[in-house]
Every structure is written in C-alpha cells, then in structure tokens.
C-alpha cells in the first residue's frame, strides 16, 4: 500500500567535504555514546547505517520515539550514554517521557531532522514541526537549531557536552534546508 517516494534534496547547501552524518558519527564515538535509539527518518538514514555498522554502538529501532527517552534513562542508570534520533513529526510523542528525564536530571541528547518548514510538500508535517521547538523548550530541553551542513558536527558536539556535563536534555534541530525537502513522485 506504500507508494514508493523518491527523496531528492532541493537544498542549495553546498556539500561539506565530509558529509554531516559522518561528522556526527565521529562526534558520538568521541562522546562515548553507545545506545542509539531511533525511529528512522530519511534525513538520518546515513547516520543510522553508520551506527549499525559500528560494533561499538547498538542501533535500537523503536516503535515510538518516547521509548528512546525511557531507554536513555535506563542506559544512564546503568552507566552508559545514549542518543535519540528522530524526525520532527515524532517530537510530540516524547513530551511526557521528557518530563521524567527532567525530574531525574538524566542527560538526554536528541538529534531531530526537521520537516514542515523549508519547502515542505506534506501539510500534515507542518503543525508538529512548528510545535517542536516550543514544546521541547516547555518541557525543559535546551534547543539548538542548525541550518548549515558544515555546522552540524560542531553543534552536536557542543550539545553532547552540555547534555552529559550538566545532566540536561538537549535537542539539536537539523533544518529541512540541510536534509532537503522530500519530493513525492
């Protein structure tokens, strides 16, 4: 029943010499992140593949994004670091669980590829996209946004340091301008 869609970036960003997912992968390795929870997004596809190929990390597909928050709590209790990858359309699913991470002061690093704001085709993506930053801020997360491919790696590195050094929730919103707007054909 799924219509096959072709994803083609219409971003005008010049390609960084190292693709940003590869930079992020290196940042996560350097930050000792081991558990990677995700609901897949095409914007995260390359990073997910890199994690799956990395024997030092565990790629954990989730049935819903909120599972990744509880996973992060468990990992932290056990002495391990995790990261949560999702698309903006899944951010709202996390709000309750983020309240728990807030109360516990458990570090929570989440990387969110954005839909619904730069050249979006699908109107259903727009409301949650617009609500992503405000709802995450409302539940107590620090929100960083990045809209240049060359800055994603350093933004994630800074976010990871903030999260794990200060035991806070930190979300990096990766602009649709970087990942490219999906074309439905």
């Amino acid at each position: 029943m799924q219509k096959k869609v072709e994803s083609r970036g219409i971003s005008h960003e010049s390609r960084a010499s190292i693709p940003w997912p590869d930079e992020v992968h290196r940042v996560l390795i350097d930050a000792n992140v081991r558990q990677v929870g995700y609901v897949p997004d095409s914007g995260h596809a390359r990073l997910i593949d890199l994690v799956r190929a990395n024997r030092g990390m565990r790629a954990i597909p989730l049935t819903t994004e909120e599972e990744g928050v509880a996973l992060a709590v468990g990992a932290w209790l056990g002495g391990e670091r995790s990261v949560l990858l999702m698309q903006s359309s899944g951010a709202g699913n996390c709000i309750n669980m983020l309240g728990m991470a807030n109360e516990l002061r458990v570090p929570l690093l989440t990387l969110i590829t954005m839909r619904g704001h730069w050249g979006e085709f699908n109107p259903w993506q727009v409301p949650m996209s617009q609500a992503t930053a405000p709802s995450l801020a409302a539940i107590g997360a620090v929100v960083h946004t990045v809209d240049r491919a060359a800055e994603v790696g350093e933004t994630v590195a800074a976010a990871a340091q903030l999260a794990f050094n200060t035991c806070r929730m930190v979300a990096v919103l990766i602009s649709q301008r970087i990942v490219g707007a999906k074309e439905f054909r």
Binding site: R34, Q35, R58, I60, P61, L62, T63, T64, E66, E67, V69, A70, L71, A72, V73, G74, A75, W76, L77, G78, G79, E80, S82, N96, M97, G99, M100, E103, L104, R105, V106
Partner: protein, 198 residues
C-alpha cells in the same frame, strides 16, 4: 472467554521474588509496584518510577544493555505496561538475555480509582510478549505455578515476561524516596561507585 479471578497476594509475591534478588537490579513501575517493592525492603539498586507511565520496560532495556552481566528485573503494573506495548517489540528485537519483565496484573488502574484495565477484559499481555519474540512468557495464577516461575525470572535466558495475576485486596502504602534526582544518584552510586559523579 470466562474470567478467572486472581488469588495471589501482591505483597507476598513481590517479597518472594525479591528475597532471591542477589545482585539483581530492579526497576519498579509507577504506583502499586513501587509500594510493593518498597514494602519488600529499601534497596539502593531499586529504581522507583513515580511517573513516566509506559516507560518502565524500556528503562529496563537501557539498563540491561548497559549492564549485561547483571540481571535486571522490571516489576510493573498492567496499566503501565499497556501504555507501552510497543516496547515489547523493541525489547524482543534486542533479545537481552539478562532482562525479565514482571507485571503485577491486578487488572486495574490502581492509582486513579481501581478502574478496570484491558487485561480485565481478556487482553493477554503475556501472549503479546510471546508473539513479539520474548524467549519465555507466561501468565501466573497460582502459588505452585509461581514457585516454578521465580527461578526463571533470574536464570532463564531472556527476555522473559511474566504476568502475575494478583488480587485487588487493599494493602498499606509504603512510600520510598520520591525525589527523582536523588533516586537516580543513589542507584548510580551503588552500581558505579565514584564513576557515578564524573
């Protein structure tokens, strides 16, 4: 399907289970399972959830993956587990050998007025766990059956799932620490020592 009335006493069940804990790590899901676990004796390696409904099993997964040499028990309620049914699939895919999910199934939402949950109407959560891919899964009604299950909770290669049917008989509330950061720190310090403060 005819409803079978639970007969097991929840406080005795949890006490019997935890008496054999050894160095196991315990996650208690919010509400009555937290009081049951606290009633069995305060322990630094008990993580008590006072919120995050639907997340207890996933907390157990993260902990089990981080500590593969330790047994991890999640003791939670049917309402809490029902809110996170997808986690049965997520856990089963990871196949953590050291994880057991134990549901104290009184077929009620205990904190909000004892309203019936879906298990009161025949929803078979142990069946769901089995279908998801848990290595061992079952529903426990009687004392003899419980006796054979307790060793499995600790020794059976996981993931293991047990729905233990318990009564709605009122029991005294036993409240552990409720400050989330304090619970987290106490658990981490007991488990990780000085590394907990890095």
């Amino acid at each position: 399907m005819k409803h079978r009335t639970p007969t097991l006493d929840r406080r005795r069940v949890v006490a019997d289970i935890l008496r054999q804990r050894g160095d196991a790590l315990v996650v208690a899901g919010l509400g009555a399972p937290v009081w049951d676990t606290a009633a069995a004796g305060d322990h630094a390696l008990n993580f008590h959830a006072w919120g995050g409904m639907g997340g207890a099993a996933m907390i157990g997964l993260g902990l089990a993956l981080a500590q593969p040499k330790r047994r991890v028990l999640v003791i939670t309620g049917d309402g809490e587990l029902l809110m996170g049914l997808g986690s049965l699939a997520t856990i089963a895919v990871q196949q953590p050998r050291n994880l057991a999910i134990i549901v104290m199934d009184n077929e009620r939402y205990g904190e909000t007025g004892m309203q019936d949950t879906h298990t009161r109407f025949g929803v078979d959560i142990a069946g769901m766990a089995k279908a998801a891919g848990f290595r061992a899964s079952g529903t426990v009604f009687g004392a003899t059956q419980l006796k054979t299950w307790i060793p499995r909770l600790y020794k059976q290669a996981g993931p293991v799932f047990a729905a233990i049917k318990v009564t709605t008989q009122p029991v005294p509330m036993v409240l552990p620490v409720r400050d989330g950061a304090a619970i987290k720190l106490r658990f981490r310090e007991a488990l990780l020592g000085a590394r907990a403060f890095e």
